[in-house]
Symmetry: C2
Subunit: 770 residues, 2 copies
Amino acid sequence: MYLRKIISLFVSVWIAGTSLAQNKTEDLTQYVNPLIGTQEMGHVFPGACVPFGMVQLSPDTDTIPYDFEGKYTGTVYRYCAGYQHNDPTIVGFSHTHFSGTGHSDLGDFLIMPTTGKLQLNPGTADNPESGYRSRFSHDEETTVPGYYTVQLKDYDIKAELTTSEHVGFHQYTFPENDDSHIILDLTHGIYNYDGKVLWSQVWVQNDTLVTGYRITSGWARTNYLYFAMVFSKPIENFGCENHEDQVYKGFWRKIDQEHNFPEMGGRNLKTHFDFKTKDGEKIKVKFAISAVSTEGALKNLKAEVPHFDFEKVKTEAHQKWQNELGKITINASPEKKTAFYTSLYHTFINPVEYMDVDGQYRGIDHQIHKAEGFVNYSIFSLWDTYRALHPLLTLIQPKRTSDMINSMLAHYDQSVLGMLPVWSHFGNENWCMIGNHAVPVIVDAWINGIRGFDSQHALDACVSSATNKYYGNIPDYMKLGYVPYEKNATGSSMTLEYAYDDWTIAQLAKSIGKNDVAATFEKRAENWEILFNDKTGFVGAKDSKGNWKTPFDPLQTHDEGFIEGNAWNYSLYVPQDITSLIQKMGGNRCFSDHLDSLFTMYLPDKYFAETEDITREGLMGCYVHGNEPSHHVAYMYNWAGKPWKTQERIHEIITTKYLNKPDGLCGNDDCGQMSAWYIFSSLGFYPVCPGSGEYAIGSPSVKQGVIDLGDGKKLHVNANNLSDKNIYVKSLKLNGKPINRSIITNREIRNGGELVFEMSAKPNKKWATK
Amino acid sequence: MYLRKIISLFVSVWIAGTSLAQNKTEDLTQYVNPLIGTQEMGHVFPGACVPFGMVQLSPDTDTIPYDFEGKYTGTVYRYCAGYQHNDPTIVGFSHTHFSGTGHSDLGDFLIMPTTGKLQLNPGTADNPESGYRSRFSHDEETTVPGYYTVQLKDYDIKAELTTSEHVGFHQYTFPENDDSHIILDLTHGIYNYDGKVLWSQVWVQNDTLVTGYRITSGWARTNYLYFAMVFSKPIENFGCENHEDQVYKGFWRKIDQEHNFPEMGGRNLKTHFDFKTKDGEKIKVKFAISAVSTEGALKNLKAEVPHFDFEKVKTEAHQKWQNELGKITINASPEKKTAFYTSLYHTFINPVEYMDVDGQYRGIDHQIHKAEGFVNYSIFSLWDTYRALHPLLTLIQPKRTSDMINSMLAHYDQSVLGMLPVWSHFGNENWCMIGNHAVPVIVDAWINGIRGFDSQHALDACVSSATNKYYGNIPDYMKLGYVPYEKNATGSSMTLEYAYDDWTIAQLAKSIGKNDVAATFEKRAENWEILFNDKTGFVGAKDSKGNWKTPFDPLQTHDEGFIEGNAWNYSLYVPQDITSLIQKMGGNRCFSDHLDSLFTMYLPDKYFAETEDITREGLMGCYVHGNEPSHHVAYMYNWAGKPWKTQERIHEIITTKYLNKPDGLCGNDDCGQMSAWYIFSSLGFYPVCPGSGEYAIGSPSVKQGVIDLGDGKKLHVNANNLSDKNIYVKSLKLNGKPINRSIITNREIRNGGELVFEMSAKPNKKWATK
């Protein structure tokens, strides 16, 4: 064990060393602009975190309560990440966030420093004086990977944030004031509603240490989070407000818990810690979290930040980012580097390490488990991320990929339903979206050579999920081969995605010699055909008796059997058998025309108004880059023998959909999926069908890229003659050998080598057309 | 460790053997009538439990919700134990109960078997058809220690209950019915209110195993209880109702959790498990609980009941009771034995073993701890039980006493306030009543030779509690020597009790050579004098400036500085220095006259109406046996040189206040305190001042008693010539040596021996009068 550790240390130092050698003169974090995507639809947060860290400490600019009956309210949707760039005030700094999701939760443990009259409500953006929030200006806001700072105008306080994996480190520079406060608002949350806090508890252990926890019921139905908070300066006074009428008080009524009473509990708890400060005095707050216990939080604190050296933690956070961003080095313009490294940054935020330093974590069975031999991860937005994020991590984060898969298998083991995660976070399955997309993540990793998990266990989990009687109309799907629309309004999307997932199971089964399983799922993989309507040329919706739903509107998403994509887009979702799909659609020319129409038609306003999550700018015709179902579509021209059209579209998407401004993302980043598309596509290839072991060739937009595949293996990508105009692939060589196809395989590149594109301003209509 | 276990096993077998040898022909459990005290004020439960077992499985006859604003509602007070004997219906059988308390909580995990149309609400007693409850008759109800059975008339189901320490074992004999149900109502509770359940969760693991938990906020502010439930027959169907509007549903809305969906969660969850039954078919349910996890519950189940043999568990429960009741064997009439063994039974119910079989338990810091080297107990109703229950356990349950004290010290270690328990249960401090009465329990045990805990740790805990800045006006008490009435309406009771507690700390400190600590607390022990008003001859109430509260009504409890006792009674609360009190009150004659008046005056109705917890029958004059503050008072004649008056009063209390009928207890049994008074007094002595090492002599009411002191030591008590008339002590011998004083010490009896009373029909006015 010890020897393994030394070897592993040696290897990692060596890897870090070689990786740094690539760019020892260059600080890659300088190219990351965490503000990109913080306005409108991007839904990323601008605050501080380390790669895959559980603590993601970021300013929240509003806390509008959600209508918890499930009614869609645009105002709250805005605050999935807690922050909108054009807001004028900051409510405070909370410790957990999603990066780029289209639904929201978390925002746990909000800290806010104030001076003067104590106010324990946040107030409103219109009238910040009415509460503890503060005005701020972007002129006085700086954010880089692992560090965020802003001036809180209303209090003349400089706020600085950095983190380790489990610890948020706050540094507040106060003015002189006898009435300075640090507020910890246990009621704050993203996607809040009255009653979300099931219980909260705070213990003031001594004049610098505070512990506690809260249990919330939000998107995560039961989220247990514990904390340990340490101040650099002794607390002068402390207290709380706990206005609630829902909880029986018993003999606690006898006790004044609001003033300097060290045990505070309730469902509506807002606490404050008071100090006298000198001008320019810094108060530092270390805030460690755990899903297990306050003891777990203390362990995390001791292991990661056993000191009060803010600069040290900030420097370490910077170095962690530098190391991770160094997984891919590129030669490109500063503008391109900004887009590229901001994207790469976004791909290393979610999932997060969801366990204590001793390996303990809370399972979806609400019990405490110990991760033996792996790091437990959470926040799996799988409907989004199986497409490109996980394939990217498989390529450049093989160890983390194994760990993520082992985390999914642990989830399966704990699931009373026998299900792999669908959309899971912080010890909960939240059942968002559709499909069985832990499956392609697992299979893609296996097919691409990741071996850090038990393949039979994985196959069992995939089969159990894919034949599950409790989930997503699978019994209907197994009986009929499709999900009828009267059983589920998104049945056609489900059918297409299940068919793809089934195909990937077959790949895993074949790979480990389970041919009977493979045969079953290969057959199921053909189910998409049942819903392909030869008369319309689109995938449609059928009822249980096999009748097509009529009337049928291929531009409409809602009530046509689909979700986040209409028939124009979703009919293309057969990544496992594009050749057959093309035949169904009338052959190469018809298919290519279909794609052309898709990319150029105008989507009438009435359809756009009903399309969530995206901006007009995210559209190309009726192609929606802001949502995921079509992320593979631009690459499909390759299969129709027109790779130059793929190259054109990819170039257009890359140059128009990822802009260096706060509203530069045209849809939710979706835990890195949007960004991972960008990374792959910039390097000239993309995993159209994860689990196939193949990548489709597109149009590289970096001149040179070096991809660190681990174990010292590097893939060099060169795009000779690349320019704004030279966007077409003239020819391609892999390790000196000409490639006359628009596909490369993972097997061909997984040991490193050199992929050389010759670029040109003209389409090469002869290359890779067969 | 293993050797220790064998020795310990050997010793316990040997003790059990010798104890049984006393009464091998006699089943002592036959004398226990668990129905005594189940009507009106006794507040004990009639169901099944083993001695000190965590599971106390008992029928609940109503579930009237409490007004949680704290308003006193008589109807709910009736249901402290969940059961009132004159109720016509049974709601179901829940697994946790208090025994005899004056405030309520628990009633966790209600199980109810039904047939026919499924109803998931309990319905009302007036209209049982409106819900799942059933009529029953006492003619078809039998209860003995460890076993309870009743016929549920509405469903023709025979219900039988038995338990081990952590497992409730249900056996239901059904009629033939295709529509039989076993309901698990997660919303049921004693002292219920809308919102008490913070969260509940049920997982159907397979067709016979169900796990889950709930967190409630009641008298225990945060009570975590987990369970594992196993059916003897596979579940046909299952489901739930979860009508609630307080919790955001998220994408769980997509799922029909109400029908055969194995993961059910919410705040208003009622679950059912359906079966087809044949006529006379038994369905058995094993229900294990844990405060730690469902895994803990499963461990407990496996360790205690790894089979489905109901009779075996019932027999074991019987044997456990027989062993414990054998700690004292007596020679007395069957009527006397019924009163005696029912009382002894009541003294062995609370506290309970609050930990899993592996030693894990939930501390008051809400974290999981492991009890190292002791058994962790909970349910400490200390204001009641320090008086006689704990002194009795110190005498006959020395190992459990050590464990209880170690449990209290662990509580202190976990307390952010640095407090020993006041009134604690199930991982919570509930702050009921006043004083610092873990202190006398610890000191009494130490002074009486219990050595199974760290005395310095104990002294630290006592001093920390007694000087605590957060609790019970201790800063006022330390500053002024008393608690002023304007600071606390019960300040005079607090002052008297703190002074006594202080005196006991001094005894512990002296005993371990901490003379400075002893001196400090000996001084504080005199504080009672400050509130003794020489002008009125009563203890009164003072404000912070030292002025007496006027007008002063010595018959009034409320707003006169007292709680559960008026000045007539409370003025006598100086157990640590009765001699000085007698002087203050004018000497022996005046004092004796005061006591005579107390026992004979008539308490006008207007005062009685305001006196909680007791019945008219519980009064003797103005002496209130149904409340605790005067439990020592009848013994005080001894100090005034009139022991025969003590003997008269004790005889009267014994014969009139403990009756063999459901309403036979004149006040709350208070976790065994009332019953422990009876046990001591029946044996002829009583701990007037726990911590002094002394017992006052009263009037024995058993002819012979053998008290098992552990380690083979036995104290034989003989009351020669005892009869209904011969109630006076003519003379007393200890180990053959005449005792001419009305006090014996623990040191004199702790190694066993023979205490021989000669009884007579006439008062001996010469014995022990000095």
